[in-house]
């Protein structure tokens, strides 16, 4: 049965009525409410304000005021105890508004979730989280940026938030975990679903070292129409949202819209105006999102002190310094050899040394400077040139 959204009303109340979800009867009713799939968060939110409590809302749904036939059947059949058993089996827990793990900023959303399911570590109120989101089909550069930003966030003590999807989402989680940090993945499917299957290992690692969050109870399959709703939870859990890559009309874009609802900053990593993957970040920057060129910009804008970076081009042997200086853009080893005057074997050797130092990346036969998360104007070549023997080509 289709559910009609009420017209947008500027005076819609925010949060929940006082006393909502408090007490064991309310808590039970809330749990059942959260398991209804045929009713949108907004309809539910309006219903709750109309009825005043979870118990009353549940009764209204049972009476046919909202929700689908399935929902009505569920309301009569399901018992809170049964749902709790189910949660226990999935090793998941439930947090309602006012609970410790229910992040208060979620209430600033126009249609806040009436509760969330969680797995893994406890969501601590002390942690500051930054969302890193973007395309499911990023470019190689986008992957690198997402990973570097996540590593930088982790190093600065921030927790990374993202979806559970392929592409930028997965790479951001990986970056954070690789740097020894923690991460929160918000799923668009049931809390127990390992979707997409490609990310199964990653999701398990997040359960061990971070937190999975979902609005949906165990068993709910992944369906594309639930993903936008997930994006609002990502925004609601974070103090800033970074958009790495995305096409114009994408879920990435919607996350940014939700960010403005919650009142947090949106950051965009700019890209070439010719690339489809730059559309979302570039458009957001034009609309007022903050442009960031790397982790230093992000931390600066968030008012967080940047830790000292580890990789340093200083003290490189001459061959390697020359090769690094030559790499203005992705280059063939041949071109590097010509620019430096080194032989082919020596060039390859220098590039591999640089690669092992993490200063250079080789892929598909070309080499380029590694993106280490710092803005590009902190030119490693000029730094090396200053400390070295000054063999930069003149002019």
């Amino acid at each position: 049965m289709p559910v009609e959204d009420p017209p947008v009303d500027e005076t819609r109340p925010t949060g929940f009525p006082s006393g909502f979800g408090r007490g064991s009867r309310e808590a039970d009713a809330l749990l059942v409410l959260r398991c209804l799939l045929g009713i949108t968060p907004r309809t539910l939110h309006d219903l709750i304000w109309r009825e005043g409590s979870a118990v009353a809302s549940l009764a209204a749904i049972g009476g046919g005021a909202a929700g689908s036939d399935n929902d009505r059947a569920f309301v009569t059949d399901a018992t809170p105890a049964g749902i709790r058993e189910c949660l226990q089996a999935a090793d998941a827990r439930f947090a309602a508004p006012g609970d410790q793990e229910y992040w208060p900023a979620l209430l600033r959303l126009e249609d806040p979730p009436v509760g969330v399911f969680l797995r893994g570590r406890r969501l601590s109120l002390e942690h500051r989280r930054v969302a890193i989101v973007g395309s499911r089909r990023p470019s190689t550069a986008g992957v690198e940026v997402a990973r570097a930003l996540a590593r930088g966030c982790a190093a600065a003590g921030l927790v990374v938030t993202s979806g559970g999807a392929l592409g930028i989402d997965a790479r951001a989680h990986e970056g954070a975990l690789d740097a020894g940090g923690s991460t929160v993945a918000v799923l668009g499917s049931g809390i127990d679903q390992e979707y997409p299957a490609t990310n199964r290992r990653l999701l398990r690692e997040i359960v061990a070292r971070g937190t999975l969050v979902s609005e949906y109870p165990p068993g709910v399959p992944a369906e594309p129409f639930r993903f936008p709703a997930r994006n609002r939870v990502i925004a609601g859990l974070s103090i800033g949202v970074v958009i790495v890559e995305g096409v114009a009309r994408s879920g990435t874009r919607s996350t940014a819209d939700f960010a403005s609802q919650v009142g947090i900053d949106v950051f965009g990593v700019p890209g070439p105006i010719t690339g489809p993957l730059s559309e979302a970040p570039n458009a957001l920057i034009r609309d007022g999102a903050r442009l960031i060129r790397g982790i230093e910009d992000l931390l600066h804008d968030l008012g967080i002190e940047a830790p000292q970076s580890a990789a340093s081009p200083e003290g490189l042997p001459a061959d390697q310094r020359l090769a690094l200086e030559a790499l203005a853009q992705p280059m063939l080893p041949d071109a590097v050899a010509r620019a430096t005057g080194l032989s082919m074997p020596d060039t390859l050797s220098a590039l591999v040394h640089l690669e092992l130092r993490g200063l250079v990346l080789g892929s598909g036969g070309r080499y380029r400077r590694a993106f280490d998360g710092s803005p590009v104007d902190a030119d490693p070549a000029s730094a090396a040139g200053a400390t070295g023997s000054g063999r930069r080509p003149s002019g």
Binding site: R136, T140, P333, R338, E355, L356, G362, S363, G365, R366
Partner: protein
Amino acid sequence: MRRVTERGVVGTYGHAMYGRVLGMAVLGVGGYPVTVEAFVGRGLPALTVTGLPGAAVQDARERIRPAVEHAGLEWPLRRVVVNLAPANLRKEGAGLDLPIATSVLAATKQVPEEPLRGVVLVGELSLRGEVLSTPGVLSVAIAAVQAGHTTVVVPEANAVEAAQVDGIRVVAVASLEQLVGFLRGRWSPPEIDADPGGGWSPPEADLADVRGQEQARRALEVAAAGGHNLLLVGSPGAGKTMLARRLASILPELTRAEALEASQLHSVAGLLAGRGVLRQRPFRAPHHTISTAGLLGGGSTQLRPGEASLAHRGVLFLDELTEFRRDAIEALRQPLEDGRVVVTRAGGSVTFPARFTLVAAANPCPCGFRDDPVRSCDCRDDHLARYRAKLSGPLLDRIDLRLGVPRLTKHELLGAAEGERSEVVRARVLAARDRQLHRYAHTGWTSNAHVPGALARREASLTTAGERFLGEAVERSALSGRGFDRVLKVARTIADLDGAERADVEHVAEALSYREALEPEGRSARAS
């Protein structure tokens, strides 16, 4: 020879008659002697062949009579039994047509017996009595020498290949009539020029034709020097095929023995007709739809060498490696390890030599444009992961050199320097190969790529600094044990090219550059 009576035609052979000649059958790559006996006796006109004839030999029954009659000879209108000994081996191929026909002619005294002594016959007959080109003549000639025979009669089309074998007289005949003339002493066969091209061979594709691609050219040199297999990963149009074709041009020239070995395989496959012997290292590039039998050899009746064996002493190029059937790829492990293919059938097993350098090529991702400077790649993570998983596995473990071959931009092409000619590179390759022969003289191995891991570790004789550097690389990039050995062997080859006694840091470093990451875009990709 015959007289007409009131009772009809009566031949001069009123009683039972017997004739015997030597033939050869080809099994796998070798020829083995077959004694062909003919018995002409009482009974309705018929030709029976006994002694495990294969399908092609059974067919000979129908072919031989018209051939004999067309040559102006008489076919006995009596019962003819031809026996092929030894009877326990199945005889395949049409090369037995000529000996069968001759045995009948000998039995009916139409040709003298004496000149047939020590003569091995091979050749297929047409209905008009022409002797047609036959596969495996080179193998037959070699086996004939080994069996101590003095003369081999071969089809004219195969004359040059038979003439490559020393120690035996080759008689090339174009028709059954010529053979009969030869045996009756009325026709003498022409001299055979064993080297019709006069040593001239068509110009090979030269390495200098490749513009840019310095790293790939260098990788070819390393592959040629150490006998390493090579994987080229790059977008369509990057020039992977062009590069692969030029590997043969920097390998050492075929020695006489190698040329004969390789030519024998081509002869058995029927690919040598008209040419004497291979002068250039073979380059085989089978299409990716090839079956396992096509790649490794086999076939239900006549066992034929597969592409892996046709590439023996040369280059086997597998373009679009991921598109090949998985079982075909898996089956390549045996020749890559042992340098031979063993094909086993109910009738027994056959060994084909197959020592080749493998060059495989693959796109970097399903769409082919990952890391391309112009076109963007729109492959999803999971598709890419699945694709790269296909590239991994046991075959990849046996490929020491892996590198990305980028599609060059117009700018890069224009800026590319003129490359070295193949002969210049080949000189370095030869020197490096000599060093290896010398080093492994007492071990029975000849090249860095093939020595076992333990020996490689001992003989690499890394410098202290080289060892420390390799250790560091292992820590940082999670090289596996196998990967470690691969880098070590390649470093050893690079040091050999450099004329260095011990492998130093720069050799190890260059070796590390030939390890294009193939892991799915994920955590373990390359050094962090």
